[in-house]
């Protein structure tokens, strides 16, 4: 693999002198020490580590060697296919979650914290243990793109189904399909108030965010009048709550629907269209060049850290050519050397926590003990109140450092309830003493667990 020899010119300039004494495995896991004049840090330059960090949530012990064998393109192909069987222990743990075994309406009345804990558990368990790491990264991206605040109204009972049918089902598939499924998802209809969007008294909330945040982007070329017209098109898109009907499902209520003619983005939607009005709007939006650009920009930002132009243009083109196939957009981007050379991206708390648990091969139930730490870091899952999802800029997360340090200390010293790190097993595979950045000599740190804690607390480990 010629690709592996390209450690990058950065590696030569940065690595020398700073990483002396640091074992090769350690360098791969922790990145390198950095001189002062780099801003932002250039981060790890080893290809397998960069791939594991970008496509997924970082390597577990043994992953880097496996990625090296597969090669850059091979790893991308494997991850885009996302057809690894989920490990038995993950399937068992996921199966024990009741939120997936009941319809939303049947969950209603369950204790709030219990339901929210299980929602977070599911997201954490899959991110930590699934070998289909790219899919999990996309699930994280789309979950924030189509954000739903679980603590609003009955959303918490509906988010699980939304996660399965809207997000997971389409994470690497069809973007238009994801939008269309989301538009009929009771969780979204309730969260963005479309349930009260009725003939004569329209509610603009869903219409606006559908265009601004889900499809076109705020600069996508729509006006306030379009918001009002789209709202009219979605009047009557609601949730079943009639007696003797399957409560909690999507329901189009013709009596609440505004049957007049509408104009959306210059296109006429004739009178009397019923449910087809909304479906027509979704078609217009998801085939719009602004949507292609907006989604392309989102993906490029997720993997390169910014929306650099040639890539956004290229992915937008692929979107329009393929009808919004996500995998088709991902492949050229992920296979490119730009993925390897670009600046690092800050880990959000979820990213940080999952990558640390993976690095030390932790055994966790992802329950309340672990979630308390995520909460302290500022990213309790499914609990961002606004529809735009958790921020991704580094500046937003500078306040989370202390909570990250405390998590690293608690984890390595066995003080996170429900989570366990087997240091003996870990030490047999990778000398724990080698995990500390050698650029900061740590001869006086005698305990393996203190070593690991410091590794996770270091600035380098906050970037991917």
């Amino acid at each position: 693999m010629a690709g592996w020899s390209r450690r990058g010119f950065l590696g030569l300039a940065v690595g020398a002198g700073l990483t002396a004494g640091c074992g090769p495995e350690a360098r791969k896991l922790v990145g390198r020490g950095l001189p002062e004049d780099l801003e932002p840090p250039k981060g790890p330059v080893e290809v397998p580590l960069r791939l594991a960090n970008r496509l997924g949530f970082g390597p577990r012990p043994g992953d880097l060697g496996r990625i090296e064998k597969l090669g850059h393109a091979g790893f991308v192909t494997e991850q885009v296919a996302a057809d690894h069987e989920e490990p038995l222990h993950l399937r068992m743990k996921a199966r024990s979650l009741e939120i997936d075994q009941f319809q939303p309406a049947d969950l209603e009345g369950w204790p709030e914290e219990y339901v929210i804990r299980q929602l977070q558990q599911r997201a954490l368990l899959f991110a930590i243990y699934s070998p289909n790491q790219l899919r999990e990264r996309m699930v994280d991206l789309w979950t924030n793109h189509f954000n739903i605040y679980a603590r609003k109204g009955r959303a918490m009972y509906r988010v699980s189904k939304d996660q399965t049918e809207v997000i997971r089902q389409n994470a690497l598939g069809s973007f238009p399909q994801m939008v269309k499924t989301s538009a009929k998802s009771p969780a979204m209809l309730g969260y963005l108030d479309n349930t009260v969007n009725r003939k004569g008294v329209p509610n603009e909330n869903y219409a606006r965010e559908l265009m601004e945040l889900h499809t076109l982007g705020v600069d996508g070329g729509y006006t306030q009048t379009d918001v009002q017209e789209v709202a009219r098109c979605f009047t009557g898109w609601s949730i079943e709550n009639r007696f003797m009907h399957a409560k909690g499902q999507f329901r189009f209520d013709p009596d609440s629907h505004d049957e007049g003619a509408k104009t959306v983005l210059g296109q006429t939607i004739p009178a009397g269209g019923g449910i087809e009005d909304g479906e027509r709007v979704l078609e217009i939006l998801t085939t719009h060049p602004s949507c292609a650009r907006f989604v392309a920009g989102k993906i490029v930002r997720c993997f390169l850290g910014d929306e650099r132009l040639p890539w956004t243009d290229r992915l937008a083109e692929i979107y329009l050519l393929t009808g919004g196939r996500i995998a088709a957009m991902l492949v050229p981007l992920l296979e490119s050397t730009d993925l390897l050379d670009g600046p690092p991206i800050v880990k959000r708390p979820f990213d940080f926590l999952v990558s640390l648990l993976r690095a030390v091969d932790a055994d966790t139930d992802a329950g309340a003990g672990l979630q308390a730490h995520l909460d302290k870091m500022g990213q309790p899952l499914h609990q961002w109140p606004m529809p735009d999802g958790y921020p991704d800029q580094a500046g937003a997360w500078t306040g989370s450092l202390l909570a990250r340090w405390n998590f690293a200390l608690a984890l390595t010293h066995g003080q996170v309830p429900g989570t366990h790190v087997d240091f003996d097993a870990l030490g047999r595979r990778t000398p724990v003493r080698d995990l500390i950045p050698a650029s900061r000599p740590a001869k006086d740190v005698e305990d393996d667990r203190d070593h690991l804690a410091l590794l996770a607390m270091s600035p380098d480990f906050q970037w991917r």
Binding site: L34, V196, N197, V201, G378, G399, R449
Partner: protein, 437 residues
């Protein structure tokens, strides 16, 4: 182990001043011994009663003590100015809001035209005593009616988001007025996520709880070594997280000299047990401690009342009750010290004049602002009222903006002391709104 090693003398840290922010030598010699800290903790109530810690004052540029404190409370989601400060003398108000309109008899009359939402009752005395001023029909130039665009504009101090700087207005203000040795607690955001207003080019810190803001080194870990190596890890590095790490370590050092749990509010002030109430309680604590706080930013979310907004009961009432009680507790607690403290309450936009079908309101344009303390000449509703008749409204039926929110903020900053308006609000042609007479 409870307060971990931050309570100890922490030699490893103090023997080496932070890379970015050298502190005066005075700090070294004035450091308390471990024993005096313990005694201090035991006598915490008394220490707080004396209001200021002489110890803390020597640490930072003395000029920072002469600066006022600015507290910005941002109501996220677009707070409905029309149901917060109700123009009850307008028939159009009641015509547009048959269900949501608040009966004038239940309002707190402000000036014969506007009335305060009854849920804000605790603010009445502050208004009547002239400490609270209200501005109406305030907002930005943002026309998108998008939360995120409008918040972006306001937090960056811009007329709308399509112009100018990427840094926050508070960040620019702080950079332009930075003293020689600023306090690590000069700017604090209460919450886990740094608001845009404090991002870029400054040394703000986000703190959820002062009391919990400590490094928790587990039993059995090599505490002294870990603290020293942690400082080493963050000694260099110019990326955002490395800088934030150094700041976090400095703040830990500073907070080490306080005992937040011992703080007792004055004047019988009762802070609500909400994020805002507890946030303001901690702001008061930092002000009392005299450790160089200049800017505090707090958020209160939930104002996007598309449904179930309610008139005198409902979601908006719930939010306002907390806002009123929190502000009241804060002003009561600080008492006369409020003369050096200015609280600004703002939101990204107001809401549609006409109610929607879900007993709520959609996104609109202008809203209200509140300014409390800081020598404000209150007891007045300021601004130019455009009226609510249909031809006075903008776009789909929204209250037009007649006062640029930046004029309010710039007047507050000017009053508080040193300010560089050119960099804080680039391009603003300041038009005084008359907050101070």
């Amino acid at each position: 182990m409870k307060r971990s090693w931050w309570s100890c003398d922490g030699r490893g840290f103090r023997s080496e001043p932070p890379a970015k922010r050298p502190q005066p030598a005075a700090l070294e010699s004035d450091l308390p011994s471990r024993r005096s800290l313990l005694v201090g903790a035991a006598l915490g109530a008394i220490a707080w009663a004396s209001n200021r810690s002489a110890l803390a004052q020597v640490a930072f540029d003395p000029s920072s003590r002469d600066r006022g404190v600015l507290v910005v409370v941002f109501l996220r989601g677009g707070a409905d100015g029309l149901n917060i400060v109700v123009p009850y003398a307008e028939d159009a108000y009641y015509r547009s809001r048959p269900s949501l309109g608040i009966d004038r008899r239940s309002l707190v009359d402000l000036d014969g035209f506007f009335g305060l939402n009854p849920a804000l009752g605790p603010l009445r005395k502050h208004y009547e005593d002239g400490r609270l001023a209200i501005l109406h029909a305030v907002g930005s130039g943002d026309q998108t009616r998008s939360h995120f665009e409008a918040m972006n504009a306001m937090e960056r101090g811009l007329p709308d988001v399509r112009q100018g700087s990427a840094s926050g207005w508070l960040a620019r203000h702080l950079s332009a007025t930075e003293p020689a040795s600023p306090s690590p607690l000069r700017a604090v955001a209460f919450g886990s996520i740094m608001p845009d207003s404090l991002r870029g080019g400054t040394t703000a810190i986000a703190i959820e709880s002062l009391q919990d803001f400590r490094l928790m080194i587990p039993k059995g870990a090599a505490a002294e070594t870990i603290q020293a190596r942690l400082r080493d890890l963050y000694r260099t590095g110019s990326d955002e997280m490395a800088i934030a790490g150094r700041e976090t370590l400095d703040v830990l050092d500073t907070l080490n000299r306080l005992t937040p749990s011992e703080y007792r509010p004055s004047g019988g002030a009762q802070y609500p047990d909400s994020d805002l109430g507890q946030g303001l309680r901690q702001v008061a604590l930092l002000i009392r401690a005299g450790i160089g706080l200049e800017v505090a930013a707090l958020d209160k979310g939930g104002w996007d009342t598309h449904v179930a907004q309610g008139a005198t009961a409902g979601w908006l009432t719930y939010l306002l009750e907390d806002l009123g009680r929190s502000l009241d507790a804060f002003a009561t607690d600080l008492g006369t010290a409020m003369k050096d403290v200015t609280v600004v309450v703002m939101t990204e936009f107001g809401r549609r004049v006409a109610e929607n079908g879900g007993l709520g309101t959609d996104h609109g344009r202008a809203s209200m602002m509140m300014v409390l303390g800081g020598g404000v000449l209150g007891g007045r509703v300021l601004g130019m009222w455009p009226g609510l008749e249909p031809d006075a409204l903008e776009g789909p039926g929204d209250l037009p903006v007649t006062t640029d929110y930046r004029n309010v903020l710039s007047e507050v900053l000017q009053r508080a002391g040193k300010v560089d308006l050119g960099s804080t609000f680039p391009g603003l042609e300041a038009r005084p709104v008359g907050l101070f007479g």
